[in-house]
Structure formats: C-alpha cells, structure tokens
C-alpha cells in the first residue's frame, strides 16, 4: 500500500510541474455506500456501511483547455453495518480516501458553466472505531472489529462547475469510490462468504477558487 500512495504523490507532483492555473476547493456531501451480499451456513445477510456525511478538499492544476488534474482527500463518516431478516447491527466507523483524478471539461475553462467527467485512483483507509462487545447481534454472519483496513481505490464520476465570481466557482459532482470489501473491519464468520466489491457513491457540493 505504501507504494501506491507514493505513486499518487509522484503523479501529483508531475502535474504541478506543468501547471498553468491553480485550483483549490472544499466539498461536502454524503456517502452512500452499498452493501455486499453475505451467505453461508448461517443464512443470508448483507454487510457494508450505513450512509453518512462526507467532506473533503482538493488541489488541482489546469493544464489544458479541457483537462485538469487534481489531488483529493475525503473523509467519509459511515458506520459498519450487518443486516438480516429485518435486524440490523452497527458499529461506529469511517474512512479516509486519498486519490488523484483526471478531469475532462466539456467546455473550455473560460466558460461560465463547465461539465466534467473524472477518473482516477488512490487508496481508501477504512476504520472501525466502535467499542468491541462480547455479544454482537448477527455475529453468526460476521464480526465487527476495531481496526483499520487499507484498500486500493478507483474513483469515477462527473459534475459541473458554475462561475460565481471571477475566481470563484460552485462545484457539484458525484463520484463512485470502488474498493474491495474491508474484511478486517467486518470479518466473515467461519463458513460465511462476503461479496468482494464495494461501491461508495458520494455526491458532493463545494466551492472552488482558481488562482
């Protein structure tokens, strides 16, 4: 994992070296993580994360009329969750996402309204922060664990920016952070199988300053 983060930093540095305009922004919104299916001798359930708040910041450089590169950080507050038969068990948790995305703008940069699509990659650090309990509901499916689990992440999304002032833009976007399921946080009980891919749909709204 350490090598992946290193490659993101190198990529960001390379982008900055050829910068024309600098862009700073902050965004906030929600995290709408999807669940993965759970099956095994104990029956069927879903494991995943409950919806929660998300906020973050980014730093980018506009290199070309349609292309931008940006380094992003998001904190995603989302509790761990197991559900089965109408019963739900939760465990306090969250995640940190660090990634670099390339944005393609449909209009040139000087346009007041710009639509964009993004694609990038990075890492997501999942955290289980709750207090371990000797008894946990639905523990026949999996065990909540107070731990960290770092997973490679692919980021895809799109959105628009709208100029509010000469250097100020309103930004709205939606992204999907794709990772493998963090089994160190929700550990499958013996014999149980978890789905492998976790989607985190994150709608965000923010303000961008271009220098």
């Amino acid at each position: 994992m350490r090598s992946l983060i290193f490659s993101v930093v190198i990529l960001a540095a390379a982008t900055a070296a050829s910068a024309q305009q600098w862009e700073f922004g902050a965004v906030g919104g929600g995290s709408l993580l999807s669940d993965v299916p759970v099956s095994g001798p104990a029956g069927k359930a879903t494991a995943g994360f409950a919806p929660g708040a998300a906020f973050g910041a980014f730093f980018g450089e506009n290199l070309y009329p349609h292309w931008t590169g940006e380094v992003r950080y998001e904190y995603l507050q989302s509790d761990l969750r197991l559900s089965s038969g109408g019963q739900t068990a939760t465990f306090t948790g969250g995640a940190h996402a660090v990634h670099f995305d390339i944005l393609y703008h449909t209009n040139r940069k000087e346009s007041r309204t710009q639509f964009f699509a993004s694609l990038g990659g990075g890492a997501k650090v999942f955290e289980g922060t709750g207090a371990p309990q000797a008894y946990q509901p639905l523990s026949q499916f999996g065990y909540f664990t107070k731990a960290q689990d770092v997973k490679p992440m692919v980021s895809v999304g799109g959105g628009l920016t709208y100029q509010l002032a000469p250097r100020i833009f309103l930004r709205a976007e939606i992204r999907d952070f794709l990772t493998a399921f963090p089994t160190q946080l929700i550990t499958p009980a013996p014999g149980m199988k978890f789905g492998s891919l976790l989607n985190d749909i994150v709608p965000l709204v923010g303000i961008t300053y271009i220098h």
Binding site: Y135, Q136, Y143
Partner: protein, 1060 residues
C-alpha cells in the same frame, strides 16, 4: 385583654446550663445539656444556631447554642410558665404558651407571649383558658391549643380567632412532685416540613385522647378520639408532606379515601410509661428516629428512675432507627438519657435535639458512621451434620462496623459445645464457629444457640446471631433451608410455582421460587403482618396486620403493591386472618373499636367484608343468624374452590361461611379447645388441629398422633399433608394421606420440627374502646391501640404443597423444610455413572476442583445452595470420596455438583447416600492437576462461552471481542489442584494471602507463550481458579487461534479469536 410590653429583663444565664459529655464508658451516642429545670418544649432556630427551651419549672426560656451545646442566655418570662413554644417558619417570631392552670403562688397568667426575634421585643396576649401548645403554619399564622379550643393567631396583627372548640383534660398546677411537663400539659402539636399541616394530640397520657390534623390548605380540622393502652404520650413528629405523623408510639397516616387518618403502624410490644417516648421523622431518608419503651433492650450504661413498668432495670435508653412506613427497627443506639418530650431533626437531617431527663439531648445522627458500632453480617448460621459427616463442623461469621471502622468485639455462645475462634477481636473480622455434634443431645431436630455480640466501644446494641444446629439421622426426610427471622403463614401459588411467607419481625412478604426454593422478591408490609389470602382471581395477595389498620394488596404478576392497596379497615380493627370465597373476601379482625350499631355482641374479634376494588372494608352486622362476635385469635381459611370459608376459634367454636348463601350457615362448639392446623377442602371436609369436620362441621374423626402437636395441614384434593411435632427442637412429623378417610397413615420423620402454635395464645392485650366524636368541623372514627400479638397464635398454617415443583414446603424451626412430594414412597438406591469436571464436562478432575456427578436416583428433589461453607448434605443426599464428606452445590436426580476435597488424589472411590440407600462404589482417578476452563459463560443470548475476560473492557473474550496484543486476560477454570496456602474444600478462597496453584501453568496462544502473573484460586470463590496472563505482540491473528494451558501434566486447549 391584650398586653403589650417590652421584655425588661433579658437574663443572661451563661452558667445555668451545663453540657455534659458522654459517660466515660463511651458506649453512648450523643450528649446532654442539663438546664437546671424541666424542659417542656423546644424550638430550633437554625438561622441563628439556637435552640429555645421552654423551662416550665424555672419559668424561663433557655437559649442553647447548637454550636457548642451550652446555654448561652435565657429569657425571663416573669411569673409565667412556658409550657410550649414554636418558631415561625421565617424565623421572625417565637411564640410561647404560658400555662398557669390553677392556683399557684404567685398566680400566673394564661397567655401567649410573642417574641420578635429580630429585636427581642415581646408582646403578651391573654388566652383565658390555659394554652397548652402552639405551632406555626407556613403561612405565618399560628395555631394555639387551649384546654377548650383551637385558636388561630396572626403574629403580625395580633388577631386571634376560634377554629374550633372542644373539652380537654389538663392537670391543675401545682402538681405532685416528680411530674414531667408532658404529664401536666398532655398536649403536643407539630407542623409538617412543608408548612401546610399540623398534627396534634390532646389529653395525651389519659384514657381519651384526641388526635387532630389541621389542613392549612382547606382550613379543616380532622379530629378523632382514641382510646389507647398504653396511652399515647404527647409527642408528635410529622413527615415533610404532612401525610403521616408519629404520635406517641403510633404512626398515623392519611390518604385520599381516609382523610381522618388511620393507624398506619404501631410500635409493637410497647410498654407503658408515663414519660419515655420521643420521635423525629426524617422524610428524606424514610427514617423515624425514636425511643419507645419496650423490654427488648440489652444491658446499658445505667438505669434511670423513670424506667417503664415491666422493663428491666438494666435497660439502657436506646434510640431506635426505624423505617418510616412500617416502623421496622433496623438499629438500636445507646443514648445517654431517655427522651421525654419533643425531638427535632434539623433540616439537613444530621442532628436531633430532644428533650431528655436533664434538659436537652443532642444526637448527631448524621455522624453515626463516625461512632463505633458492631454488627454481624449474617442473621443466622446453620450447621447441619449428617450421616456422611459427624465430625466437628465449622462455619464463618463476619463481624463488621457498619461505618467501616475498627471496633472491638466479643462473641459468646449461649451453650457449651460451640467454640468460636477468635472469640474477640477488631472489626472487620471473620470468626470461625465450630460445633461438636457430640456435645448436643441427639434430638434429631434443630437446636438454636444464641451467639451474642458485644463491644466495649460500640454505641449500638448489636443483634445476636442465631446458630442453628441440625443433626438428623438417615431416616429423616427433607432439606432445611435457613431463612432468618420470625416466620409465619405460608401460601403455595401452584400457578406461578412460588410460595409466599410472612416475616413478622421485619414486616416483609417473602416470595420464593418453587423450583429452586430461592428468594425471588422481598415486599414490604405494614407493621406486624399476620396472615395472607389470595384474591378470588388469584392475581392478588392480601396481607393483614396486627399493628396496622391496613390490609396490603400485592399484584402477584408484577410482584409489587397493587394500585388498590391499601385497604383501611374500620377504626379499631386489625386484621388477624383473611380468606376469600367466590362471593366475598372476609377479614377476621381484632376489634378494639366500637362496632357499628347493627353489630350485636361487641366482642374483641369481628368479621369484616372487604371490597378490594373500592378499597373499603365494612363490619358485617351479623354472621348469618349468629352474632358477629368471635375470638380475636380465631382464623379463617377458604376452600380451594372458593365455595366455603372455615372459621376456627381457639375456644372450640367452628363456623362455616357458604359462598352460595353469602353468609355463615353453621356454627358448632363440640370441642373445648382447638389449635394448630386449619384447612378447608373443596370436598366439604375440614381440618382443625387433628380433628376432621364434615360438611356440617360435626367432628367426624381424628388424624395423626395424639402425642404430637398439630402444626399445619394442606389439602391436595380430598387428601393432603399434615405436619406436627412433639416439641419445637425435636423431630418433625409429616403424614401424607390420599383422603381423610384413608385410615392410618404412616408418619415420616422430618429433619426438624415445623412451627408450632405459641403457648397461651388465646388472649390479647386489647383493652381500648374507640368512639367517634365531633371536634370542630369534621367527625372522625375512633380507633385504639394495644400491644402486638402477632406472635400469639393458636393456629398455624405451615404446609405448602407445590405440585408444579413436586415438593412440599413446611415452615420449620430454621426457616422451612423442603420435601419431595413423594418423600414416603420407596426410593431406589442411587447409582453413579460418571464423574467429570464441572467446567467443561471432561473426565480429568483434580483436588479442590468442581465436579459434576451423573447418575440415577441421586436426590428426590432439585436443590441448589448458596450457603457458605458449602453443606455436605443437601436435599437428603450426601456424597463421599474415600470416606470423606464432599461439599455440595447442587443436587438432582441425575446430577450432583460438588467440590473435591483438598487431599484426595489417585485412584478414588465415590458413593452417594440418599433415603434410598447407598450407591455402589464408583471408581475414578483424581489427577494432581486437570485444568479445565469453564464453558458456562454467557454474553447476551449466547451461552456456553469460555470464561475468559479481557481486562481492558472487562468483557468476555469472544469473536466480537477478540484478544489484542498486550491485552491482559483472566481465564477462569477449575482443576488446578492443590494450592499454597491450603484451602479447605467448601470454604471460599482467601483474599490474603492468595491461594496460588502449586503447579505453575504455561499458557500459550498460537504457540506464543503468555506472561502469567497469577495462577490460583479466585478470592472469595469456592473451587474456582483463575489465570491472569498478558498477551505479547507477535501472536498470529486469526478467528480460531489455539489457547493452551499446560499445568503439571494436565492440559486443555480451546480456540479464541486474535487480532493485531
């Protein structure tokens, strides 16, 4: 005529008061300030730190500093005689009632004196008739009681008004010598803490006494004439909200249905006294502090000339600490003098100021924990020997100071053959009480020995401990369950598999589980509970009281007092017995009042009918064609189907109530006396004592041995169980009969005697006659008082069959005895099939380890014990290994849980003894070590978990609470073998020094060794060991990592989850 003048002579009398320290023996609590006169009343001025003392004899108001307890000054009230005083709630005024009733030289004045405390100015107002008492309401208005009226007095305007008038008694001055002020004025009144209610008594100490309550919100007075024996003395303390008041030795209460008040409780067994009584209510803590003359006080520092008639000359004055709702006494504290007048508790509830024989007594009740006291942690010790164990038996007794201090103590036994080691020491301490069975006669029953605790420095009178020695032989049936206290009346509840027992001395209704015979709940009753009855729908239980007008109603599903509780009986009625039928619920009450006009006969016993929903009770005008006049110690009992109620009287009378006719339909007296058991069947047959009565109450036969006294009978269909005994310390007898006509029934010996009727039970001390009177604006109904007679009973209900549990419970000498319902049937000899450790059910066992023995016919009943040390016989079963008795925890037909002795090892032989005989020898091997982790822990609904605890969150190690690096874990197990120091099987492990396992264990997790900081017996536990270990880093994580304990050749492994 009104006089206004300034107080011209304010006399400072610094030398007139002397504060006396506690006697040198330091056995008393509090101090006395002698005032050089006779204190008639006191008033506490907390804002100024002063206590005003009406010194009737000296004609002055002494002013005592509450800081140092000395008299700093005195108001000279001239020729007046300050009999009573009160301070306004705002502290502005001190109002003094000056009593000058009759000829005295110089002639006094009947007046009230108003002192403005801000400037000490004085106004005097003549009252005409002698004023007896004063009290301020929260509104600022005062009530003034004179010999003929109750006046209102406004201290601001000086206006007076007549609230009501009455005729009253008071003594004329001068009085004979050695007369206390309370005997002269015969009046006291006190305002509630919220300032809205004044309770008072007039004519106290005489035959007719008026108790009144002034409601400041409505301006109404509720007055009742009481006739009490002994007479109520003029002492009044009131709860903060005014809903109850302690007047003399009686606790008066009110509720929305009974605004005139009722006797909520009376101090049982009070003795007559002309001056000793005092009380103060602490509403915040639900406590009444008081002194009431009785014969139940131990030797104290000195005897005073004013001891009550009948009291021992060696009695010490004692402050009783009682519950404020039912007068249950919890502590007796030695005080330097008797309380002979008003007692005031300060607003913080920390200090009582009480009029005492020399003046005023200061009792710092808030600091009681700083004084030496001593008490035993146990009320009873039961030592039972048996056919497995006839050697000396030892039990522990813990002596403590309730305040946590170090207090000297001495324990002595009332009989030889009991050794106590050490017999004296300093608290906290545990002494060993050993009994040599050979030193006691072979009574085959239970002998009670008193262990008296004393202390040279303690201020309390410690309760003695009852040592019960039970020594049955193999032929006797049943298991004794120790239940401390004075028990009486038992009712089985087959539907809920429970039984209910009344504990008289602590005013409790005890609820026991029928399967485990363990206490489920303790519910509070009123004072001196007598007998119980179910409601017709069996959802409620009614309890009558000998020292309370109340019948308490309990919701048996909620195990709490019902919304329809309490029911107040008519004035002067105290429920001795209750029975329900399909038509009516009847109460047989001791009658100390005047019955309604329709009632003829007017005996000391009367039958009331109760409406539970309406919370009312009414005396029946007649019992059918018979007068409603019965013995007060008669009893009622219903037939199980609700069709009839039997009334049995100690004079031989029996009566029958028919639910169909809703009245009494038969009355006969064929016998000259009846006592003991009483029961009614659903098949028109009845039992009283050993006599069987038919449907017309004609004696139709007898049961049982004529040499044994009847104790209890319970029908089970047409037959039933009968308990009897020749005496209270010998063997008990139980007989089971399929029908009353079944002829000779084989008696079977029980392990101890059932409770028997009290000798001389047919009389009561009732002497009073209550009458209603109009006093002021409201008419009340009279009641009266007498001493408690709950322990005086000719009839006993002691047998409770529990078909759902397959047992019969009998109230007996030590508490109760549990027998299998089939106790008299032939029992096959027991068989042992396996012996395993009790932790995980595997076969390795070791010394001191807990074991489970499996087999057949090993006990006629299921029974667990919480007794410490563990008994060596339980429910007719005992176990021996190599001939040594084994401490038992649980017995049942197919399983016995026990603890192996310390010294057993190698090839061993086990036998089980039961009423069916002795099992064949069972051979097994005891290893030196056999560590086995308990697999009996539970987390939420998950059971069968390993008893391993993570110390960082004090929760069980489970898959959801996994082991982390650097965790300290505690593993609970058994079978770790011998320890240093050695611990006797059946006894808890010591806290210091800890009993460490002789063989040190090696604990590994995933192959990595853990650091073991302790391995040995868990302190205070029996047969339970623990290993404290720390997990290093480097243990490979996993959902199922092996945790292995190797110890002295024994090993055990289980899997746990580990993370990193």
């Amino acid at each position: 005529m009104r006089y206004n003048y300034l107080l011209t002579s304010l006399v400072f009398a610094l030398a007139s008061g002397v504060c006396l320290p506690a006697p040198a023996s330091a056995q008393v609590f509090g101090s006395v300030t002698a005032i050089g006169g006779s204190a008639s009343d006191i008033a506490l001025d907390e804002s100024r730190g002063l206590l005003y003392i009406a010194n009737l004899g000296a004609g002055i108001i002494d002013v005592m500093s509450t800081t140092d307890g000395t008299i700093h000054s005195s108001f000279n009230v001239g020729a007046l005689h300050p009999g009573a005083l009160a301070i306004s709630k705002d502290g502005q005024f001190l109002l003094v009632a000056n009593y000058s009733n009759g000829a005295i030289t110089p002639q006094g004045v009947n007046a009230i004196t108003l002192i403005h405390l801000a400037d000490n100015s004085v106004q005097t107002f003549e009252t005409g008739d002698p004023p007896l008492g004063v009290a301020f309401l929260g509104s600022g208005v005062a009530l003034v009681i004179t010999t003929t009226s109750i006046l209102s007095f406004d201290p601001v305007s000086g206006q007076t008004g007549v609230v009501t008038t009455f005729a009253n008694l008071a003594n004329t001055l001068p009085v004979v010598q050695a007369t206390f002020p309370g005997q002269i004025l015969q009046t006291a009144l006190t305002t509630s803490g919220d300032g809205y209610t004044v309770w008072g008594i007039a004519g106290a100490g005489t035959g007719n006494q008026m108790i009144y309550r002034f409601d400041g919100r409505t301006g109404r007075i509720y007055a009742t004439i009481y006739v009490s024996t002994p007479a109520l003395l003029p002492r009044v303390s009131v709860s903060n909200d005014g809903t109850s008041a302690m007047i003399g030795y009686s606790l008066l209460g009110i509720n929305s249905l009974n605004p005139w008040g009722f006797i909520q409780g009376r101090y049982p067994a009070v003795l007559a006294s002309t001056n000793i009584t005092g009380s103060a209510i602490d509403s915040t803590n639900g406590i009444i502090y008081g002194q009431f003359p009785d014969s139940n006080q131990s030797t104290g520092p000195s005897a005073f000339p004013s001891r009550p008639t009948g009291a021992s000359s060696a009695q010490a004055p004692a402050l009783l600490i009682m519950d404020s709702d039912n007068l249950t006494v919890h502590s007796r504290i030695n005080i330097p003098e008797d309380m002979v007048g008003r007692a005031i508790l300060n607003s913080a509830g920390t200090v009582i100021y009480a009029i005492s024989e020399s003046g005023v007594m200061t009792l710092p009740v808030g600091n009681l924990n700083q004084y030496h006291r001593v008490a035993a942690a146990q009320e009873d010790i039961l030592i039972a020997t048996n056919f497995c164990n006839q050697s000396n038996v030892t039990q522990s007794l813990t002596i403590t100071d309730p305040g946590g201090g170090n207090t000297d103590f001495t324990v002595t036994a009332s009989q030889a053959g009991v050794s106590i080691s050490p017999a004296s020491g300093t608290t906290p301490a545990t002494v060993q009480v050993s009994v040599n069975p050979a030193a006691f006669p072979a009574s085959s029953g239970t002998t009670a020995v008193t262990l008296q605790i004393s202390s040279g420095s303690a201020v309390n009178q410690p309760k003695s401990v009852r040592l019960l020695l039970n020594n049955p032989d193999p032929s006797q049936r049943g298991t004794v369950v120790d239940q401390p206290g004075v028990l009486g009346d038992i009712l089985p509840d087959a539907a809920r598999n429970r039984f209910y027992v009344l504990r008289h001395d602590m005013n409790q209704l005890l609820v026991f589980d029928g399967s485990s015979n363990s206490l489920l709940a303790t519910l509070r009753t009123s004072t001196s509970p007598t007998m119980m009855s179910f409601s017709a729908d069996t959802n409620y239980l009614l309890v009558g009281h000998d020292d309370s007008q109340l019948v308490r109603v309990y919701d048996l599903n909620a195990l709490a007092e019902a919304a329809s509780s309490p029911i107040v009986l008519p004035g002067g009625h105290y429920a001795r017995s209750i029975a329900q039928s399909n038509a009516s619920t009847l109460v047989l009450a001791r009658n100390e009042g005047t019955p309604p006009a329709c009632v003829t006969g007017g005996g000391t016993g009367i039958v009331d009918t109760v409406n539970i929903a309406a919370q009312t009770a009414t005396a029946l005008c007649s019992l059918g064609i018979y007068q409603n006049s019965v013995s007060p110690t008669a009893v009622l009992t219903p037939s199980p189907n609700g069709s009839a109620i039997l009334l049995a009287s100690p004079d031989g009378n029996v009566m029958l109530y028919s639910a169909a006719a809703d009245t009494f339909v038969a009355s006969r007296k064929d016998l000259t006396a009846l006592s003991g058991a009483f029961a009614a069947s659903s098949f028109n047959s009845y039992v009283v004592g050993s006599t069987i009565f038919n449907a017309s109450l004609v004696p139709s036969g007898t049961m049982g041995s004529t040499s044994a006294a009847s104790s209890g009978f319970a029908f089970t269909g047409a037959g039933g169980y009968m308990a009897s005994a020749a005496n209270t310390t010998g063997v008990g007898i139980i007989q089971q009969m399929s029908s009353l006509q079944s002829g000779s029934v084989k008696p079977v010996a029980m392990v101890e005697a059932p409770l028997l009727p009290t000798a001389g039970a047919a009389t009561t001390s009732s002497t009073g006659t209550g009458t209603g009177t109009t006093s002021g604006t409201t008419t009340g109904t009279g009641t009266s008082g007498s001493t408690s007679t709950y322990a005086q009973t000719s009839f006993t209900r002691t047998v409770a069959p529990l078909p759902s549990a397959g047992t019969v419970v009998v109230l007996s000498a030590s508490g109760f005895t549990v027998l299998a319902a089939s106790y008299d049937t032939a029992v096959a000899p027991p068989q042992i099939s396996s012996v395993v450790n009790a932790a995980n059910g595997t076969s390795p066992v070791a010394p001191l380890g807990l074991i489970s023995v499996y087999g057949q016919q090993m006990s006629p009943v299921n029974m667990a014990t919480s007794q410490i040390p563990l008994p060596t016989a339980l429910a007719d079963s005992c176990l021996s290994v190599n001939g040594s008795p084994v401490p038992l925890l649980f017995v049942s037909s197919q399983q016995i849980n026990a603890q192996l002795p310390f010294n057993v090892s190698g090839s061993s032989t086990m036998t089980v003894h039961t009423p069916g005989g002795i099992s064949n020898n069972f051979y097994f091997t005891v290893q030196s070590t056999a560590p086995s982790v308990f697999m009996s822990a539970a987390a939420g609904p998950d059971t069968g978990l390993a008893a391993i605890v993570r110390m960082n969150n004090n929760q069980l190690v489970t898959a959801t609470n996994p082991i982390n690096p650097n965790d300290t874990i505690v593993i609970f197990l058994t079978g770790m073998g011998q320890t240093s120091p050695a611990v006797v099987a059946g006894l808890p492990s010591p806290q210091s020094p800890l009993a460490s396992a002789n063989a040190v264990p090696i604990v590994t997790l995933g192959g990595v060794a853990l650091t073991v900081s302790y391995a040995g017996l868990s302190p205070d536990e029996v047969g339970v060991y623990q290993i404290n270990a720390t997990v290093p880093t480097g243990v490979s994580p996993g959902v199922s990592v092996p945790l292995t304990i190797n110890q002295g050749g024994g090993a055990t492994t289980l899997n746990v989850r580990v993370i990193n």
